[in-house]
Amino acid sequence: MRAFVGALILSLCAWHTHHRAEDWRSDEALWSAARRTAPALARPAFNLGVALVKEARWEDATIQFLAAIQLYAAPSAWFDMQRHAGQGLALVDTLGSPVCDRPEVSPWCVWR
C-alpha cells in the first residue's frame, strides 16, 4: 500500500514538473503563467510586455505595459513601474506601431 502511495506521489510529481518545466521554456511562457497565477501583480505584466516586445508583438505588449501601470499601486524606491512601463510603451511606438498617439497610452509614454 505504501509503495503504491509512493509511486502515485512520484508520478504526480513527474507529471506536474513536466508541465511546469514547459513554463520555463521562454520568457513569454514564464510570464504568461505568472499572469494567470497572479493577475493582480504588476511585475508579471511588465515582464510579459518586455517578452512580447522581443517577439515584435506590439499590440499585445502595449496591453501588458498598460496593465502593469494600472496594477502598480504605489511607487517603489527601487523600481518605478510607471516610468519603466512608459519607456516600454515608447519603445513599442518607436520600433513597432505608433501607440503613443492613442489617448489611453499617450499619458504614459516616457521618452529618454
Binding site: 509512493g6 506536474h16 518545466a21
Partner: protein, 323 residues
C-alpha cells in the same frame, strides 16, 4: 534508474528553451578572469560563473547546454540526498526521498532557471558537508560548508545547518570541535557584517533589520512551505512571482505566533522529523528572514530546505518516526 529517467523526461521539454528573465544577465558573469577578480574583493559567486564559462567552452553558448548542466547538477544533488538518507531511513524510504527531491515540481524554478545555478552549487557543497559530518569528518564538513560562500553568499547558513544536522542525528562533538566551529562562526559573522557595511548597510538597497520585516518574511516562507504538499494537487500555485499583498500588519502577529508554536511543539515532542524540518527551514533561510533584501522570497530559495523535506517525507511514508 526509473526515477532518474522520469526526472530527465520531466525536464526534457525545458532543455531546448531560451534564456529567461535574468538568464540574459547571468551568463555574462564576466568569465573566469572576472570571477577570480571579483572573488578577491567579495568571495560570493565565484563558482557559478566558472561553471558557466566551462559550459560555454565545452558545449558552446546558448541556453540548452546551461540547462542540461543545471539538470545534471540537480541529479547529482538528488544522488547525494539518497546517500544522506541511506543511514537514516529504510532503503525504500531513502530511494523515495531521493526521487521526491528529483521530481517535486517546487524544484522546477531551481533546475530550469539557469540563473539559479548558485543554489544548485550551494546545495552540493552543503550535502557534501552533511555527508562528511555523518562520517565524523568535521574538518571536511567545515570546508564544504564554508565553500557554499563561493556559490551564493546567503547559503553560508550551511555552517549552522551542519551542526544542527549533527545534533539531531545524535552526534556528540568534542569540546575542541565545538569551540573551533563556534569560533569560525564568530569570524564569519564579523566578516559578513564588515562586508555588509562596505556595501552600505543603510544604503538604498538595505534597511535595518526589524521584527516587522522578519514577521513578513516568515509569512511568505509559511506560504511557500505549504507549496510542498499543495503542488501535488494544485501545481498552478507555482509561479515566479507570488502575490504577497495579503501580508499586512494584522497577519504578522499570528504568523509569528504560529512559527513559535511550531518550534515549541517540536521541542515538546522531542524533535520528530517534522520538527527538525521546521528548524532546518528557519535556519537555512535565517539570513533572508533577518536581512532586509529587496529580492524577496522565491521558490528557488527553498532548494536547500527541500533536502530535509524530502527526507522527512520518505521517513513518514516509510515509517521512521525519528533518526
Amino acid at each position: 534508474m526509473v526515477c532518474l529517467a522520469m526526472t530527465v523526461l520531466a525536464y526534457a521539454s525545458s532543455l531546448s528553451g531560451t534564456h529567461v528573465y535574468e538568464d540574459d544577465v547571468w551568463p555574462t558573469w564576466h568569465g573566469w578572469r572576472g570571477a577570480l577578480a571579483q572573488a578577491v574583493r567579495w568571495p560570493g559567486r565565484l563558482l557559478p560563473p566558472l561553471t558557466m564559462d566551462l559550459t560555454t567552452a565545452v558545449a558552446g553558448p546558448g541556453s540548452t547546454p546551461a540547462r542540461i548542466v543545471n539538470l545534471g547538477w540537480h541529479l547529482l544533488n538528488g544522488l547525494l540526498v539518497g546517500l544522506l538518507a541511506w543511514p537514516l531511513l529504510s532503503a525504500t524510504g531513502a530511494v523515495f526521498a531521493m526521487a521526491l527531491f528529483w521530481l517535486h515540481p517546487l524544484q522546477t524554478e531551481t533546475v530550469a532557471y539557469v540563473a539559479s545555478r548558485p543554489e544548485l552549487i550551494a546545495a552540493t557543497c552543503l550535502l557534501l558537508a552533511l555527508l562528511a559530518v555523518q562520517r565524523g569528518w568535521i574538518g571536511v564538513a567545515w570546508v564544504c560548508a564554508v565553500a557554499t560562500l563561493l556559490a551564493k553568499e546567503l547559503t553560508i547558513t550551511a555552517v549552522l545547518l551542519v551542526p544542527l544536522f549533527a545534533w539531531w542525528t545524535g552526534q556528540r562533538w568534542s569540546c575542541v570541535a565545538i569551540t573551533a566551529w563556534a569560533a569560525s562562526l564568530v569570524m564569519l559573522a564579523i566578516g559578513g557584517l564588515l562586508a555588509l557595511h562596505q556595501r552600505g548597510l543603510d544604503g538604498p538597497l538595505y534597511g535595518l533589520p526589524s521584527i516587522r520585516y522578519t514577521a513578513g518574511q516568515l509569512a511568505a516562507l509559511g506560504r511557500l512551505v505549504l507549496l510542498w504538499p499543495e503542488a501535488l494537487v494544485h501545481p498552478q500555485a507555482l509561479t515566479i512571482d507570488h502575490d504577497w499583498r495579503w501580508i499586512t500588519r494584522p497577519v504578522l502577529g499570528p504568523v509569528l505566533a504560529l512559527w513559535v508554536w511550531a518550534l515549541l511543539a517540536a521541542h515538546r515532542h522531542h524533535w520528530p522529523w517534522w520538527g527538525f524540518a521546521v528548524a532546518w527551514t528557519l535556519v537555512a533561510l535565517s539570513l533572508r528572514l533577518v536581512l532586509p533584501i529587496p529580492d524577496g522570497l522565491h521558490e528557488h530559495h527553498l532548494y536547500t530546505a527541500s533536502i530535509i523535506w524530502s527526507l522527512a517525507s520518505g521517513a513518514y511514508l516509510f515509517q521512521k518516526a525519528s533518526a
